[in-house]
Symmetry: C2
Subunit: 223 residues, 2 copies
């Protein structure tokens, strides 16, 4: 059986979980706390980061983008990248936007400072300047999602793609800690409601981390 090493509050792990679920691929789950640096885990991925997918046959794949591209190549239905090279480039541009820019400007400042530092028993205090900067940066990103979805139901067209998955993976982590200002961003909220109601989202909405309960609206499809 295929296995996934992941952490419920890791957006890159959520990206892979969503792709596996969209493709209806079964897998065993192992929740990994990467900050513990278990030697057995570092043997699977020298970067010692989640996610890691161990395929049937035993090959360990690391890096969420490498894993998602692999899954889209090896398991074609439903395709999560379009067929035409320039259209694929646009989806991948948006994946890069959410994996790098959104993660750097928003996710690290909110989830990283407020929750992961505590969970990993880091000695550093949460950095209140980084938290404020992230609360301020999230608006521009939600506006961008609203702008992109004025023309289509999904970020890069009329069907779900890797871009929606990358964006929803980041946002769902921040929603887990109640920090997405949905009420000020109706376009983004409508898009998220569409993504959140997909069967592939169910496992994410059932996540419940001991000591870090999600707010009530987190699993509510009508938030």
């Amino acid at each position: 059986m295929r296995s996934l090493y992941h952490h419920p509050l890791c957006p890159f792990s959520r990206k892979v979980r969503l792709v596996l679920a969209e493709k209806k691929l079964e897998f065993d789950e192992h929740v990994e706390r990467p900050w513990e640096c278990r030697p057995e885990f570092a043997a699977l991925n020298p970067a010692a980061e989640v996610p890691v997918l161990v395929e049937e046959g035993g090959t360990a794949l690391a890096d969420s983008t490498a894993i998602c591209e692999y899954l889209d190549e090896a398991f074609r239905e439903p395709p999560l990248l379009p067929a035409e090279p320039m259209a694929r480039a646009e989806v991948r541009r948006l994946v890069g936007w959410f994996d790098a820019k959104f993660h750097h400007e928003v996710t690290r400042g909110l989830l990283g400072e407020k929750v992961i530092k505590r969970l990993s028993q880091s000695r550093a205090e949460p950095d209140s300047r980084a938290i404020r900067a992230a609360f301020s940066a999230i608006h521009e990103h939600l506006d961008y999602i609203g702008w992109l979805t004025e023309r289509h139901s999904f970020l890069a067209g009329s069907s779900l793609s890797m871009a929606d998955i990358a964006a929803a993976a980041q946002l769902s982590c921040i929603d887990y800690i109640g920090d997405v200002p949905w009420d000020r961003h109706h376009g983004a909220k409508d898009w998220y409601a569409r993504v959140k109601s997909r069967p592939s989202f169910r496992a994410l909405l059932a996540d419940h981390l001991p000591g870090v309960p999600p707010p009530r609206h987190y699993a509510d499809l009508d938030f």
Copy 2:
């Protein structure tokens, strides 16, 4: 004619320049200082980051990984990703390693603190703790390159791939400021000599930024 907006000391721009050169694709160059946030440039890429490739026909592509994947799909020779999905995943894992981990742990701390802050007239002083951390982290990465190339000439096999290009793009930026401790890492040095001597590297070795001259060994194939 295809045009590339890039900056000589941006490793992600160098990745795209190397791919264009390996595929023997001609392009016009525009050196862009992204920190100036020119509105015309932000109109091409809402992230306001280099590199941006404007294809014949006028479509602007952004995000170096999206651009490199596009170029490998649209222009097949020479292929920079292998044919088999798991082998492709291994190349992409290494691309992620150098684009994210190496950039975060090394490039930002050396190039970002020592040079880009000055060029962009940032008011912040170079952070000496970040510089020291980067000087210490680079050894582990050079050892990793040495270890990977014990079995093959290139990082992911016997021919050049996107993994070598991503790694050489980062390292060549740091070499431009003379900060790679080659003498302590013979395996990595041998690999870099092989990559550096390719015709695709010539344009990078001719880079010369006003006010930031490279050290003498930078362009030397026998460094």
